[in-house]
């Protein structure tokens, strides 16, 4: 069989690997909670224009990123969707908030908002707390409560509403908040408890409607940042953190579905 494949075709395929340009400067690597996926890329672009520092983000559920960092993943900065996972890394001596008043407490950079989102073409009434009690709601997507802070908030909200036990058999659990949104957007789930940041993306904003889950139903989603201790780019990581906390960027966060910290 191999004799039928010209050798040059294989060589051509392999040489493709070398066509990808290699940048001399190592980018700042950011482990970012999935709710930042619609928010962070433009901010990183502007940061690069302002400072010349290139930063690349990996989006996942906060616990997944924490596990990766714990196992030596080469990240410089961890932007979690809660305070628990970054605190766990600090306690393990793997991350810190050096340069702030209290170096053993993650730096809160934003607060998250939980919403109930459904497609406009859904056969069910538009999202509201009543939708959660609607027997026509067959599948409700949430992020995995064991590893995604928004998933934990979703379970807390359903528990406050005394709906958790009734809805439990109808919950579908996504890896992270982006996948939860995608389960609903693809029509496979009827509605989802997702982040306001996802609900405000152009695609979801035009294709669906959201209802802000009352904030007294779940503990606040305080999003904390830490610097990974064995980073080689501590100064650059600090610069990005300061940039995130600056007034203009915080104002920008407010438009994308996060609550600024000041």
């Amino acid at each position: 069989m191999s004799s039928r494949i010209p050798k040059w075709s294989l060589a051509g395929l392999l040489s493709l690997a070398f066509l990808v340009p290699v940048n001399a400067q190592t980018p700042l690597r950011i482990a970012a909670a999935a709710d930042l996926e619609p928010v962070l890329p433009p901010i990183l672009d502007e940061f690069r224009q302002a400072t010349g520092i290139r930063a690349e983000a990996t989006f996942q559920a906060s616990a997944v990123l924490a596990t990766q960092i714990q196992n030596g993943a080469p990240f410089d900065l961890f932007l979690s969707a809660d305070l628990g996972y970054p605190k766990r890394l600090i306690d393990a001596g793997l991350a810190d908030a050096a340069g702030t008043a209290d170096s053993s407490t993650p730096i809160v950079y934003a607060r998250g908002t939980l919403v109930l989102w459904a497609r406009k073409d859904s056969h069910l009434p538009p999202p509201s707390l009543d939708l959660l009690r609607n027997p026509g709601l067959k599948r409700l997507a949430i992020a995995n409560p064991d590893r995604a802070p928004y998933g934990r908030a979703a379970v807390a909200a359903l528990t406050s509403l005394k709906l958790y036990d009734a809805l439990k058999p109808r919950l579908v659990t996504a890896e992270n908040i982006s996948q939860a949104a995608q389960f609903v957007d693809s029509g496979n789930a009827d509605a989802g408890l997702i982040s306001l940041t996802s609900a405000l993306t152009p695609r979801l904003a035009s294709g669906g409607a959201y209802f802000v889950v009352p904030r007294d139903l779940y503990p606040p989603i305080e999003q904390g940042a830490v610097i990974v201790s064995n980073t080689t780019q501590r100064a650059a990581a600090h610069k990005l953190l300061d940039y995130l906390l600056s007034a203009p960027v915080q104002a920008q966060l407010a438009k994308t579905g996060l609550t600024p910290v000041h």
Binding site: D146, R147, V172, T173, S186, G187, N188
Partner: protein, 222 residues
């Protein structure tokens, strides 16, 4: 130990293997006995899941066969629910994903049957079904066993497809490999060790059984 997930994985692997043998035996026979030049693309198609990222398959099943396409609406009407987040969805995904693991050993086994025997059977007027069931399958029974065991194990270990369209529902889509992933992500390494040991043990025992079964005393058969 999550026995519910263990039982679910066994059930998924059993159902998938049963369907695959029914599909793969005629398919492999066609590929070996057939003369059409369309068989090469068909063979390539049957081997495609070997190299296809499971995420591609998961994406197709989730979106292309989701409730927002015509095909997907047909499936939803037929099953009463979308393919995603259901055991039947995992079966569809697993059958496609493990297809080459059933087809390839059978093709090798059928091709190794003495062509003179096949010609003789044809001359005696054997129908294609008879040819396959009374000649090829008995003579290639070791390949049949290999196809069954490989399909079963590959389905037991399936992960990417399940992650993309499972929704982690206990008893329906939470398989053992998803449980292992959850345990690792939740820092429960002790439980992850036990789950991984079960998956590893099962694979080693089953593979050893195939290789021992195919090795008569005195040396390896050609």
């Amino acid at each position: 130990m999550d026995w519910q997930a263990f039982a679910l994985s066994l059930k998924l692997a059993t159902v998938t293997t049963a369907i695959l043998l029914v599909v793969a035996v005629p398919l492999a026979a066609l590929l070996v006995l057939g003369r059409s030049r369309w068989l090469a693309p068909l063979e390539a198609l049957a081997a495609l899941p070997l190299v296809l990222p499971p995420t591609v398959l998961g994406f197709f099943l989730l979106v292309m066969l989701g409730p927002r396409t015509a095909v997907g609406r047909g499936i939803t009407a037929l099953l009463g629910h979308p393919l995603a987040f259901s055991f039947s969805g995992l079966v569809v995904g697993s059958v496609i994903y493990s297809l080459p693991f059933a087809v390839q050993p059978l093709v090798a086994g059928f091709a190794a049957v003495e062509p003179a025997l096949v010609d003789a059977a044809r001359l005696l007027g054997a129908t294609p079904a008879r040819l396959v069931l009374s000649l090829l399958v008995p003579l290639a029974r070791r390949s049949l066993l290999a196809a069954a065991v490989l399909s079963f194990l590959h389905t037991m270990g399936e992960f990417g497809v399940v992650l993309m369209l499972g929704g982690d529902i206990p008893g329906a889509t939470r398989t053992l490999s998803i449980v292992l992933y959850n345990q690792v992500e939740n820092f429960d390494y002790a439980a992850a060790n036990r789950t991984a040991a079960i998956l590893l043990g099962l694979s080693v025992v089953a593979l050893a059984a195939i290789y021992l079964g195919g090795r008569p005393r005195g040396g390896r058969r050609a």
